[in-house]
Symmetry: C2
Subunit: 345 residues, 2 copies
DNA sequence: GTGAAAGCGCTAACAG
DNA sequence: CTGTTAGCGCTTTCAC
């Protein structure tokens, strides 16, 4: 039978209140009783019951993270950051990983259940009005990562600037016909990346050509954030310029996974990057280093850490106005756009 | 103020017991009152309080997973399997990711706290006697993944056979001097992989040469499971045969990350795989496909799923004898040992 | 400094 | 079919 404060109260000949105080470091417990309590507790192998504490204290010491699992490589890095910050706290992490972007609503509902967690981290979760209501109704502190809403704390990378950085790199390499591969329409971050792409082109005095821009129409459940979507997207893009001489000489894929698929489609068509076509992605997930993919890096670890930091603060101060942290993206040049391959592996 | 069963009992003009019964699908509640209860609950936006339920029911509907975060790529795949199985249940997942293999004890302690979770998944966690005691004392169902102990359910891959498979592949490619790169000594899985390596050599009538075998002495906190350890290990190995002509013509790295480092060290020394040296790893984590690394694949997704399945069963039947599931490893030939590179990306 | 007692919100006998 | 009541294990006033 598990041992409770009653057992140790009896053993130490004090009341359960004193045991509780002793364990919670309450100042007004005499040194001698405190020691006696601890001695008995140790002898009996006592451990406070988490659920009972949660109920009495009205908090769980749990924070939850909701994440679409197809962003796994991205999430792992963010998770490292979360974990590092959490290690300094007394919070544990419960993970709600949804298989598709649409089932994420269900995971969210579980995560916001009363008494489940004290706060919530939403990673790469598209924020619809319905979800905002759900979140607000839960009266739980929330921090968004890689997503944005005016009224909710968020940590993002400057996607627009990132899009521009990627595009400028390609422009600097002499390209003027630059394809843009996007996930399905309506994703906040990728809309921004597109805006950056257009910014850079206009800067360079180049007109935006819709023929060069393509939204994935595949893998809708993953909102087009898959290798397959990139593969099909690239084929489609190449198909548009079949037999013409004004096809793209470079491609900016708005996510690394899209770039992987694009590289493959290009390869199948006989194009090698960067010999025949330059390719750059966005994210810099782990495999990209091995694939030699040029990309725009999001500081995922830092984003996770910062998001957790913000959440910890908000836990202590729920009323303060929403805070938005924006990280700067970094250009990472690898062989897919002419960089040296020597840094690989 | 959050709404409780008392509020909805009052609103529906029944007792709290009836509300509780209605929500728990108890058969003996009349259809009419049930509907009335639900109506009021919906109107008031009632949601049961998780902690209160946990305390009263003496279970949390939470299962925990303890994992060393440096096995992240491995873990992500396992996590997918866990999540898929969990989606069919009413359990949520709390993740204890430790930064080093040594701090895993602390995470374990948090995970086993009374009232925290109903069961536990230990991923790639070395099982010492002290930990076994800790686990047993917690009286929590536990399933090990990628780790083994007689008295605890486990899901593993046949590491010995995997080691033999990798080695035989190299032997079949004509190699007779095969280097073996291992993490620090004493890791269960890698000891088995080494045993398989020796099995294969003996089968082929080749004597085991200790000079060809090397334990990482770097990155002790990660028990040598890092790229850096592989890098240094490979340099050390090459150093041993400096100026001799009996150096290894192939290397079996007991983990993919070690292989990455080894490839790099080889490259720096002017060796390219597979032109000058064959390299094969173990695990088949995601980047390996991009790196073109031949490897022995562990079915990580299936292992996660199976482990969760076993845990669910044990939750219902705590007393049954420990069950050990062993998966067969798969050889995956890629360009680092002569396979076609066309499948990359 | 310590104890008594009233919750925290829900479940589960036990009655009826 | 439904209500009463006693917990689940711990925290926290409020007294002394």
């Amino acid at each position: 039978m598990p041992v409770t404060i009653y057992d140790i109260a009896e053993g130490a000949d004090v009341s359960i209140a004193t045991v509780s105080r002793a364990f919670n470091g309450h100042p007004r417990v005499s040194e001698t009783t405190r020691e006696r309590v601890f001695a008995v507790a140790r002898a009996l192998g006592y451990e406070p019951h988490a659920s009972a504490q949660s109920l009495a204290r009205q908090n769980t010491q749990l924070i939850s993270a909701v994440v679409p699992i197809m962003t796994s490589a991205f999430f792992m890095e963010v998770l490292r950051g979360i974990q590092d910050r959490l290690d300094e706290s007394h919070y544990d992490l419960v993970v709600y990983a949804s298989r598709t972007l649409d089932s994420i609503g269900g995971q969210l509902s579980r995560a916001v259940q009363r008494g489940r967690a004290d706060g919530m981290l939403l990673i790469s979760t598209p924020i619809t009005d319905a979800r905002v209501r759900q979140i607000l109704a839960a009266r739980q502190p929330v921090v968004l990562v890689d997503a944005y809403h005016d009224d909710i704390d968020s940590v993002t990378v400057d996607n627009r600037r990132g899009g521009a950085v990627a595009t400028r790199h390609l422009l600097a390499r002499g390209h003027e016909r630059i394809g843009l591969l996007l996930p399905v329409e309506g994703s906040g971050p990728s809309d921004q990346r597109r805006a950056g792409y257009e910014d850079a082109l206009r800067e360079a005095g180049i007109e935006v050509d819709e023929d060069l821009i393509l939204h994935a129409m595949w893998d809708h459940v993953h909102h087009g954030y898959t290798r397959y979507a990139g593969y099909q997207g690239m084929r489609e893009l190449m198909g548009r310029f079949e037999g013409r001489d004004d096809g793209p000489t470079a491609v900016f894929a708005a996510a690394d996974v899209l770039a992987y698929g694009a590289l493959r489609a290009g390869r199948e068509a006989g194009y090698r990057a960067p010999r025949d076509i330059d390719v750059i992605g966005f994210d810099d997930i782990e495999p990209s280093a091995y694939a030699g993919l040029s990309t725009v890096r999001q500081p995922m670890y830092e984003m996770g850490k910062m998001a957790t930091e913000l959440l910890m603060r908000r836990l202590g101060n729920p009323a303060s106005p929403a805070q938005h942290t924006v990280f700067a993206p970094d250009l990472v040049v690898r062989e897919s756009s002419g960089g040296s391959a020597e840094k690989l592996v």
